[in-house]
């Protein structure tokens, strides 16, 4: 199996990368420190509240971790020329993209799971109950979010021929999908709404713009959060909207998140298949 062979070699290579270990360590530290600060306070320590806090505080870091670990996966090899070795062996271009996705996805998921695993240990030590279902749900959703950004980074890496362009693409995607999306009033969607509704008087509903915002994997993650936490815990204020139409339901958000796992990687593969790798 060429895909596995590509993945195996890539895994061997990346696991020796210092930046992966540093990023992994920092994220674990973030998880542990959140559980540490939540263990004492005015109210009874609650694992679910801390998981919500983690999802909120940790949210901007997940894309950075994923993009950073992956953006050079293919573009770096094109720039250094080592891709010529990969492609001189019985591997198709598809094998390379899928193999890289597999290996980087596995590494990304491991980073998250290790951090949550360490977090689980601290939760058992410091909290009255672990709430394993919620814990696993949040961990699973976070892994999905990570994989969504791995898919994006693989796509960018496959579609660009050089380190600098892959980096520019990753930073650009991060800015658009995170910094310009997180706060509704200051989001890129608010700008679109201003142009369409205020300038052209199209009178489109706020829900529609909220849906556009939800197309960002980061926002989709937030909107899907009610699926894994009990409804009595308030998470991400934005979720509490009884008048929201069906297309803003958490299930739709989850579907969008899953689509991010597939669509960007497929587009990247399509572009990579057509490219001249001279």
């Amino acid at each position: 199996m060429s895909v596995l062979s590509v993945a195996k070699k890539d895994f061997l290579d990346v696991r020796r990368s210092k930046s992966v270990w540093i990023v992994s360590g920092l994220y674990t530290l973030l998880v542990v420190s959140l559980f540490y600060t939540g263990r004492s306070g005015t109210v009874e320590p609650n694992v679910v509240s801390q998981l919500s806090a983690l999802a909120s505080v940790g949210l901007p870091f997940i894309p950075i971790i994923a993009l950073m670990m992956v953006y050079l996966a293919i573009a770096g090899e094109r720039e250094s020329g080592s891709i010529r070795y990969l492609l001189s062996l019985p591997n198709t271009r598809r094998d390379i993209v899928l193999g890289k996705y597999l290996s980087r996805g596995a590494i990304g998921a491991s980073v998250i799971l290790v951090a949550f695993g360490v977090g689980a240990v601290t939760a058992v030590l410091w909290y009255p109950s672990l709430e394993p279902t919620v814990f696993a749900g949040v961990a699973g959703l976070t892994v999905l979010l990570t994989l969504a950004y791995v898919s994006v980074a693989i796509s960018i890496s496959a579609a660009t021929g050089s380190r600098s362009r892959a980096m520019a693409g990753s930073i650009g995607f991060y800015i658009v999908s995170n910094l310009m999306m997180l706060v509704p009033a200051f989001s890129i969607v608010a700008a679109i709404k201003y142009v369409l509704n205020d300038q052209f008087g199209m009178g489109l509903s706020d829900h529609l713009f909220e849906f556009i915002r939800m197309l960002s994997p980061t926002i989709a993650f937030r909107k899907a959060f009610p699926l894994v936490v009990p409804s009595d815990i308030e998470t991400f204020m934005v979720n509490v909207d009884p008048s929201a139409p069906a297309y803003l339901a958490p299930e739709v958000a989850l579907a969008i998140l899953v689509a991010w796992l597939v669509v960007p990687a497929a587009l990247g593969l399509w572009q990579f298949n057509r490219a001249d790798l001279g």
């Binding site: 590509v6 290579d13 020796r16 080592s82 001189s88 062996l89 591997n91 198709t92 001249d276």
Partner: protein, 323 residues
């Protein structure tokens, strides 16, 4: 079935740049083919087209009978490639590189045996490739190309980074592979390494194939001189006349105690040496095999048979020889 066959293969970049122009090239099974040309002549682009790294603007190519664009995976499972200017994986050891290639190709080769064949020490193979010298990297790349006993070896500038000893070993490996029936296709801009091992050469210039054939045939085609100089104790007048009338000798010049004979074919040189040796005491022999350089320069200077070009080529060679 030819090992490599291209028909009207053309690669354009944008409107103005034609990297490979209407290339018809056939490399027969079992031969060692030297792909020559100055830097930028289109050799690497041709190899990239054969490996499906880049796609042709027009034309088609087959490797081992398979279409390069439709069946790259089948081709890659049966060939060994030493790519030009490709860096290794800094964080993997030499041995890990080999193990990966063996695994990827589904071969059962022994890494140690391959390391031994290319002259890479086991201690070096245990280190990360990030610290390799260019020569070591080239040796490892060569070992990787040999994995799985390929039917065809494609070597892009294989001698770059190798010292003279390394080049000698490279030639030996190429010859050994050729003896096993492997077709070898290698590109080079260094002419010396070609003559020793190649059955046939093709010369690229400006994206076009300007000549193919055995070196002897190409030489004869251009009617080049091979020249030989002998330092002698004394120069008998009769000897000069004898040499001048010898069949295959174009001209004889005498400069002090040095006789220089310009011969039509290489074997004539030996006859000249024998004849001079019989007439006087020979102190030194200098055989200037400039014909290959001149051949190359002539083909890559544009016009193929202009007398002026040949002279220009010779002038260049002489500066190179003295330098």
């Amino acid at each position: 079935m030819p090992a490599i066959e291209t028909t009207a293969l053309t690669k354009r970049y944008g409107e103005d740049v034609i990297a490979v122009d209407d290339l018809d090239l056939t490399v027969e099974e079992g031969e060692v083919f030297g792909f020559l040309g100055p830097n930028g002549a289109g050799k690497s682009t041709t190899i990239n087209l054969l490996l499906d790294f880049v796609r042709p603007t027009e034309g088609a190519a087959t490797v081992l009978g398979y279409d390069v664009q439709r069946e790259p995976k089948t081709i890659r499972s049966r060939i060994g490639v030493l790519p030009e200017g490709a860096t290794l994986y800094d964080r993997l050891t030499g041995r890990e590189h080999l193990e990966w290639v063996i695994d990827n190709k589904g071969s059962d080769d022994d890494p140690d045996e391959l390391l031994d064949r290319v002259g890479l020490e086991p201690e070096a193979a245990a280190r990360s490739a990030g610290g390799y010298s260019k020569g070591m990297a080239q040796r490892l790349g060569f070992a990787m190309a040999l994995v799985g006993d390929p039917d065809l070896l494609i070597l892009d500038e294989p001698s770059s980074g190798l010292d003279p000893k390394g080049m000698q070993e490279l030639r030996e490996i190429i010859t050994a592979e050729a003896d096993r029936g492997t077709t070898v296709f290698f590109s080079s801009h260094i002419l010396g390494e070609v003559e020793a091992v190649c059955d046939r050469v093709g010369i690229m210039n400006d994206g076009r194939l300007v000549a193919t054939g055995t070196l002897d045939a190409l030489r004869e085609n251009l009617d080049f001189d091979a020249s030989i100089s002998l330092d002698v104790e004394r120069v008998p007048d009769a000897l000069v006349t004898d040499l001048e009338t010898h069949e295959g000798v174009h001209s004889v010049t005498v400069d002090g105690s040095t006789i220089t004979a310009s011969c039509a074919r290489t074997p004539v040189k030996y006859e000249v040496v024998t004849q001079v040796g019989a007439a006087t005491t020979v102190l030194d022999i200098v055989s200037e095999d400039t014909s290959l350089e001149r051949l190359f320069n002539t083909y890559t200077d544009g016009e193929q048979s202009g007398e002026g070009d040949v002279d220009a080529g010779l002038a260049e060679v002489e500066t190179e020889v003295s330098a």
